[in-house]
């Protein structure tokens, strides 16, 4: 049903609800511009939602892109300031796998070089509130991490910040909306409308309602990430980039309390790290020229990751891998360079030369630098509009809930909910956790713990459905990790769907369709990793959802 919605004019139309799109929308809105954000799926559905979940300074890029490391480290500090509830420290160990120290000149050089390298990184640590590195003897190393394979000779430590990258993205969009931006998820920009060599409007289609609309725009910002090549082809513009596919694996629990830097079979650096309630193994990096909507992790990517992690932590072979997940990162285009050596810098393309004045494309960048990238992009937008606006304040104004981190213990006692659950709610909502739990004060049944894996309370599902731009049930994957944990949604998907349906006015058919959709996404992530006890979990999931649910 093609029902035209009203045509409106905006200063800026942002295409793409990843962290850059949401960040630009927030910055533009805070500077007083009128903003429309269009996202064809949900916020954080692409690379932003499939990042490693770190706002690291990028020690890897220190020698090649020192500026990238500095900017990332500085901005990581700002993110810590505007969303303190959403970050957590991950101490990394960089073990030495070489022979007895001092036995060979080469080994001594390796030790020395690593220490200098990490020591140089220490110079950036104050920017992001990180701790300086330490050197651990073999004895100290095995004391802090007994699961490491025997025969290691020590380590240096490296302090980084973990973050829930999906919520970071969501919070930026919510903040943009608070400052007046219109955020439309599940709404795809279909066509750029041009007049006299200028892009003047964007046509869009709402995938949920089937509505079509047109928004007139002073400037259009293309932040569609891995979808840019497709978007460019459809609209006759070039967006040069080297898209790369990155795959991660999740374990059903924290496999240790330290991140471990290990070396993959091809010599690449990778990691096994504790992250929220699970551990993550990452990351692959391969050129990808396919359809970003049609991705799967392959058997060799899964093996590659497990092999790399098991080279230092053999017990990961016995761990239960709950899912594989992936994204397409955009890196700057360069010919004849290995994927890992591509710059993590970013670039803004102005398409005026292609008969599309008023259109900017953003390519590259890092999660940790999203705010600075957004600021730079917003400066360009402002220059193109030629308007006087407020100064950028995205580095000092907290994201929603970021003004204070309440004590989970106090909240748990005051509202009568389990402390572990309160801690998760504080982590996700910061000071707004109080508002979330107030729902449970007014309606005691909202204290029902919907998911014990992720600590999701019924009240939180209701809060998110009311306030966090939820249009589809699967959006809760990115708001509160619904059905992402070891349970796969076994006993929480249905109750959560029921609560969301009540809040959002879904009838039974819609509820079942949403549940089916949520479970289908999970199935695609579990398919490549079905092994060991995860197969028993899968048997139960199928018995309940397919067998009993008829979904």
């Amino acid at each position: 049903m093609a029902v035209p919605v009203r045509d409106r004019a905006y200063d800026v139309v942002v295409l793409g609800g990843g962290v850059n799109g949401a960040g630009v929308a927030r910055d533009c809105a805070m500077r007083g511009l009128s903003v429309l954000l269009l996202e064809k799926q949900d916020l954080a559905c692409g690379a932003s939602g499939a990042s490693s979940g770190m706002i690291h300074g990028g020690i890897r890029y220190m020698t090649s892109d020192r500026r990238v490391t500095e900017q990332a480290s500085r901005d990581a500090g700002y993110i810590r300031h505007i969303a303190p509830h959403l970050t957590f420290r991950i101490p990394f160990l960089l073990p030495f796998a070489t022979h007895e120290e001092g036995s060979r000149l080469l080994d001594r050089v390796t030790w020395y070089a690593t220490e200098v390298y990490v020591g140089t990184y220490d110079l950036f640590q104050p920017l992001k509130g990180g701790k300086p590195s330490t050197r651990l003897s073999a004895e100290e190393l095995y004391r802090v991490e007994p699961s490491l394979r025997p025969g290691l000779h020590g380590a240096v430590t490296l302090d980084e910040w973990g973050i829930d990258g999906q919520r970071l993205c969501v919070l930026n969009a919510l903040s943009a909306a608070e400052h007046g931006a219109e955020v439309r998820t599940w709404t795809e920009a279909t066509t750029l409308v041009r007049e006299g060599g200028r892009v003047v409007a964007v046509r869009f289609r709402d995938a949920v309602t089937g509505e079509h609309g047109e928004a007139r725009a002073g400037v259009v910002v293309n932040a569609t990430g891995g979808w840019s090549p497709r978007f460019g082809r459809a609209n006759g513009i070039q967006v040069p980039m080297r898209p790369g596919k990155g795959v991660h694996l999740s374990l059903d629990r924290r496999h240790g309390n330290y991140g471990i830097i290990c070396t993959a079979v091809d010599g690449r650096q990778m990691f096994l790290m504790p992250h929220e309630m699970e551990s993550i193994i990452g990351t692959t990096d391969d050129d990808f020229f396919g359809d970003p909507d049609d991705l799967d992790a392959t058997a060799d990517e899964v093996e590659y990751l497990i092999d790399g992690a098991a080279s230092l932590v053999p017990s990961v072979r016995d761990a239960r891998i709950t899912r594989a997940w992936w994204g397409v990162r955009t890196t700057l285009f360069e010919y004849g360079v290995e994927e890992d050596d591509l710059s993590r810098d970013h670039r803004i393309y102005d398409h005026a030369g292609e008969g599309s004045a008023g259109l900017l494309s953003f390519v590259g960048g890092k999660l940790a630098s999203f705010r600075a990238q957004s600021e730079e992009l917003t400066d360009r937008v402002v220059a193109m509009l030629g308007r006087a606006v407020l100064p950028c304040r995205t580095h000092e104004v907290p994201l929603p809930g970021g003004d204070e981190v309440p004590s989970p213990r106090e909240l748990a006692a005051r509202h009568g909910v389990p402390e572990a659950v309160a801690a998760r709610i504080v982590f996700r909502h910061g000071s707004l956790a109080r508002e979330v739990l107030r729902i449970a004060d007014d309606d005691p049944r909202m204290k029902l713990v919907v998911c014990r894996d992720e600590g999701i309370l019924a009240a939180e599902v209701a809060w998110i459905a009311r306030h966090e731009k939820v249009r589809r049930l699967q959006d809760l994957r990115r708001r509160c990790r619904l059905a992402l944990g070891g349970c796969g949604g076994l006993d929480c998907a249905r109750p959560a769907a029921q609560i969301a349906a009540r809040e959002l006015g879904w009838d039974a058919d819609r509820l079942r369709a949403e549940l089916s959709d949520l479970l289908e996404v999970g199935w695609r992530e579990r398919r490549p990793v079905l092994d060991g006890w995860q197969l028993a979990e899968e048997e139960l999931l199928r018995a309940v959802h397919r067998g009993l649910g008829g979904l």
Binding site: D296, A297, T298, A299, V302, P444, R445, M446, K447, L448, V449, V450, A458, L490, D491, R494, P495, Q498, I499, A501, R502, D507, A508, D509, L511, R512, L515, L519, E520, W523, R524, R527, P528, V529, L530, D531, G532, L535, A536, E538, E539, L540, R542, A543, V544, H545, R546, G547, L548, G549, G550, L551
Partner: protein
């Protein structure tokens, strides 16, 4: 430790529906039977339905009354699904009904007698599920039998079940001969520990003296003219002797039933307990623990520290939940180390070896499709002897039953309990030297 050694006719490995049926069928013929059970498995997690077969050929709009019976449906599955156990046993499908009647009769404390056609029972997901039979506490909710309005109940103040969603399952099959329905919230568990109670908590609350009667009075107050039966969430007591459903019904003056359960499952635990009680009453010796060092008939195996020597073995160890089949980089059977050679779809062809293939290549992208990986198990001959990699019978007195036998994906074809009862019954009789 010769004093601890048990010599018996039949060792059954696995205490779920397949193992219990095998043990009871062997015991019926007078055999001395030992059953090894390490933990409740799929049967203990089941939702209350005994799913045997639904007609694969009928259209979604075929009325209940025009659908083929359970045995006829199994025959059609046998005709259309190459790897399915019913196909393998197609020449003996005339005994399927004997097996279902035997197993449900043995467990009649919990299971309602089967009628020969499928009952249609609501699920918490708003779906009507066909099953050859179900728990006694569920029979009054059979959508093909309710004459009048079906009252679907949830609990006021409890978010675990949404009666509107449950009732939508009845609306969806109304044109097939199902009843009209309406839904209400019963004001029963509003107080805080009730509102937050998990299914087992609620089941225990209802078993307390007077609680079922109080529930019946609450239900009576919301009844309207034309209501023919009421269905409630599946928490109407763990112990069948508690007769919670009957007591609510007596007080309310209307037939009362549970709908099916997802997890955690009160009906699953109820069935598990009934199985254990029946095994004990029938004189089956149950040993707790894993089977170790078992090499097969006439050789000693260790079960929970006891040494057992059996003339025949029935392997009823389940699939992935039960632990009978496992995958650690490669699919295998864990107790006798048998190869995993049977599955469904393209992998029903016994010449295709798939045990070492990566998981993604044994699954289909559409989760609704039958999944070969989830259908993987032992290949058996038509006497239920497991076969080795060369297609030879492993041992003339080793039999396999239930989900450890490959070729069916119970979640998508709805034959899990039927295969368990049929293969269990056949294997138990064969193992006891009885004519199967």
């Amino acid at each position: 430790m010769p004093g601890l050694r048990i010599e018996c006719d039949v060792l059954v490995v696995g205490g779920g529906m397949a193992g219990a049926t095998a043990a009871l069928a062997a015991r019926e013929g007078g055999a001395r039977v030992v059953l090894a059970s390490k933990a409740p498995g799929s049967t203990g997690l089941s939702g209350g339905a005994v799913s045997v077969a639904q007609d694969p050929a009928c259209m979604p709009d075929t009325p209940f009354a025009a659908r083929s019976g359970v045995v006829e449906s199994a025959r059609r599955i046998a005709a259309t699904r190459p790897g399915h156990p019913y196909r393998l046993l197609r020449d003996r499908l005339d005994r399927l009904w004997n097996a279902i009647e035997f197993a449900t009769g043995q467990l009649s404390a919990v299971l309602a007698p089967p009628t020969g056609r499928n009952r249609w029972i609501l699920t918490p997901f708003g779906h009507a599920h066909p099953a050859a039979t179900c728990h006694r506490t569920m029979a009054a909710g059979d959508l093909a039998e309710v004459r009048g309005t079906l009252l679907v109940c949830g609990f006021e103040g409890h978010l675990g079940w949404d009666p509107g969603l449950v009732a939508s399952g009845a609306e969806r099959v109304r044109s097939l001969g199902g009843p009209a329905s309406r839904h209400v919230l019963l004001d029963m568990f509003r107080w805080e520990d009730g509102a937050l109670g998990r299914p087992f908590d609620l089941a225990r609350m209802l078993e307390a003296p007077g609680a079922a009667e109080e529930a019946g009075r609450v239900l009576r107050r919301v009844l309207a003219r034309g209501d023919a039966a009421a269905v409630l969430p599946p928490v109407l007591g763990i112990d069948p002797e508690g007769r919670v459903a009957d007591r609510i019904a007596a007080e309310a003056g209307i037939p009362v039933a549970e709908f099916l359960s997802d997890l955690p499952s009160v009906p699953g635990l109820r069935l598990h307990r009934a199985v254990e009680a029946r095994l004990a009453a029938a004189g089956v010796e149950v040993l707790r623990g894993e089977v170790r060092a078992g090499a097969g008939p006439d050789l000693p195996a260790t079960v929970g520290g006891r040494e057992v020597v059996a003339r025949s073995w029935v392997l009823a160890s389940g699939r992935f939940v039960g632990g009978g089949i496992e995958r650690r980089g490669e699919l295998r059977e864990g107790i006798l180390g048998l190869p995993v050679l049977a599955s469904e779809g393209p992998f029903a062809d016994p010449s295709i070896r798939f045990a070492t293939r990566p998981p993604a290549s044994l699954t289909l992208r559409d989760s609704r499709a039958p999944q070969p990986l989830l259908a993987a198990g032992l290949r058996v001959d038509d006497a239920l002897h497991p076969l080795d990699a060369e297609g030879r019978v492993l041992h003339p007195r080793v039999f396999a039953a239930g989900a450890v036998v490959g070729g069916h994906d119970p979640a998508s074809d709805g034959t899990g309990m039927g295969v368990a009862m049929f293969t269990g019954w056949l294997a138990g009789r064969s193992a006891a030297g009885r004519d199967a």
